[in-house]
């Protein structure tokens, strides 16, 4: 239940609003950079929400990995290829109605599921942060197999990336000079 006498509820609600507005900017903005910056706002809001839920480590992982690395790469990639200041008209396309319907039904579905299972749970103040040591124990103890599998997938992705990006040196025939 939403108990608005608790300050935590206010903080969580404001963060939720920030996430919603930034998410809206991401999908509606006609400028690629604005959309990416909207994503920064949405992720920052999510990190804040994790902090409210005492998941300190997850919150800062979100900041370090998503804002500090993934989005920096996004922005870097956009700016180095196509980054006109102003508005990009081709960003909209005809399928936006279907996309809106899809997103809307997903929203209804997840909020129904969340309300159905956690509807009666109230946010009760900010507790002590979850110990990172416990998290590490769980990751390298009980969940070590999924953890290693994920690392393996990431390694495969890394090798795939290198394979796609590398240019194999073509052998130079005799008499030919390298350009």
């Amino acid at each position: 239940m939403m108990d608005f006498t608790e300050p935590v509820t206010w903080v969580a609600s404001i963060l939720g609003l920030v996430i919603a507005i930034s998410g809206f900017i991401v999908v509606t903005s006609k400028n690629l950079i604005h959309a990416a910056l909207g994503l920064v706002g949405a992720l920052a809001g999510t990190a804040g929400l994790f902090l409210v839920l005492s998941a300190e480590f997850v919150a800062w992982v979100l900041v370090l990995v998503y804002i500090g690395a993934v989005l920096v790469l996004f922005l870097f990639g956009i700016m180095i290829t196509r980054a006109p200041v102003g508005y990009d008209v081709d960003l909209d396309n005809d399928r936006k109605v279907i996309a809106a319907v899809g997103a809307g039904s997903l929203f209804v579905l997840t909020s129904f599921a969340a309300l159905d299972s956690f509807g009666d749970t109230a946010l009760l103040g900010i507790g002590d942060p979850t110990s990172t040591g416990d998290l590490a124990d769980a990751l390298l103890g009980r969940f070590v197999l999924p953890f290693e599998l994920v690392s393996f997938v990431l390694l495969a992705a890394l090798i795939g990336g290198i394979t796609v990006a590398r240019k194999d040196a073509t052998p130079i025939a005799v008499g030919e000079t390298e350009e």
């Binding site: 950079i33 910056l37 900041v63 922005l75 700016m79 980054a83 200041v85 990172t132």
Partner: protein, 350 residues
């Protein structure tokens, strides 16, 4: 009188938070101006000049204060083609990262605004936010020099964040904790990999800084810090002669002051973090007997590291862009990985 004030503050969360905030907001300009002035004077000394002389009457001590007031008075110019909201918010984002770094520095035992259990992880996370601000500044200026500067800055910060994290991991393995105060305390007992030869006499509070056993880590961290701060020899993002100061080109007045202040305040915070991780932070002889020596030791260590940075700036030429990238990826990253492996083996074996 003082006791009742302390009691009031300890009982009142919001008053204490407000006080800490004011202290940090005061410390940022003070540290920034102090280091900026040190840079002016030291560079003058190294080049056999006098440096600032007239402002303030003696040694030109008020030079940067006057500069700051001048910046505040200036017109806030936004280029006609600029993306106004992004242009306006970029300096603020860079400043957020700086303020966030000041929060966790332990100035004395228990003397940090927030002693997080994952302190060093937080430091790495929050310092990566400034990259977004720099990219925003570079792009929104609608100027090719600014864009190039912003892109160079981003490429450089991505490349050097990795070795920095790797260097920190060595320290975290040694200390067994990610909390900044825990890392300092791990340097307090005189033990090499668990071997404490001298017991815990008061003088044992003399430090065994990680600087000794993690010397490689310290080197990697310091080089990466120089690159993250865009200081010479890594100042390609703001190279005057190539990019007319890169992403700063279009900024003037107060917004320029924000970038300027953040740059020098970040020198302070980066040195403080390096001092905490590798030089024992506020620890020093007799600090367990006379606690107020702690901040003095910390500021001294920060001063030494800042002096090194200033010295490098006025002695070394600028790297080339490809040299910068190959140093990061081909030298520092493998070295950092090797450092982790060796440290981990020693930690387990000894």
């Amino acid at each position: 009188m003082i006791d009742s004030v302390v009691e009031f503050l300890q009982g009142n969360f919001w008053a204490l938070t407000a006080l800490k905030l004011v202290a940090i907001l005061g410390l940022i300009p003070v540290s920034g101006l102090a280091i900026g002035f040190a840079e002016l004077k030291l560079s003058a000394k190294m080049q056999n000049r006098v440096g600032p002389y007239f402002a303030g009457g003696r040694w030109g001590w008020a030079q940067l204060l006057a500069d700051g007031i001048k910046f505040i008075q200036k017109e806030d110019i936004i280029p006609a083609d600029a993306d106004r909201p992004v242009f306006r918010w970029a300096p603020a984002l860079v400043m957020v990262s700086t303020v966030g770094l000041f929060v966790v520095i332990p100035f004395w035992d228990g003397g940090a605004v927030a002693d997080l259990s994952i302190g060093i992880f937080y430091v790495l996370a929050i310092s990566s936010i400034s990259t977004i601000g720099i990219l925003m500044a570079g792009w929104s200026s609608a100027n090719k020099y600014s864009l190039m500067g912003g892109l160079r800055a981003a490429g450089q910060l991505i490349a050097y964040e990795l070795p920095m994290v790797l260097a920190v991991i060595g320290v975290v393995i040694m200390a067994g904790t990610m909390s900044l105060s825990g890392i300092i305390k791990a340097q307090a007992d005189f033990s090499l990999f668990g071997w404490s030869g001298f017991g815990d006499q008061p003088i044992a509070n003399f430090i065994s800084p990680f600087f000794i056993l993690q010397f490689v880590g310290f080197l990697i961290f310091f080089i990466s810090a120089l690159a993250e701060l865009s200081r010479i020899p890594f100042d390609m993002p703001i190279a005057e002669s190539e990019l007319v100061t890169g992403y700063l080109t279009e900024y003037s007045g107060f917004r320029f002051l924000f970038f300027f202040l953040a740059e020098f305040a970040n020198m302070f915070t980066m040195s403080a973090i390096a001092a905490t991780l590798f030089l024992g932070g506020y620890l020093g002889p007799f600090v367990n007997v006379v606690p107020w020596l702690g901040p003095l030791y910390l500021v001294t260590k920060i001063g030494v590291l800042c002096f090194l940075m200033i010295w490098f700036r006025w002695t070394f030429p600028r790297f080339r862009e490809d040299q910068l990238q190959s140093v990061a990826w081909k030298v520092l990253v493998p070295l950092g990985l090797a450092n982790i492996v060796v440290t981990a083996i020693f930690k387990v074996v000894m």
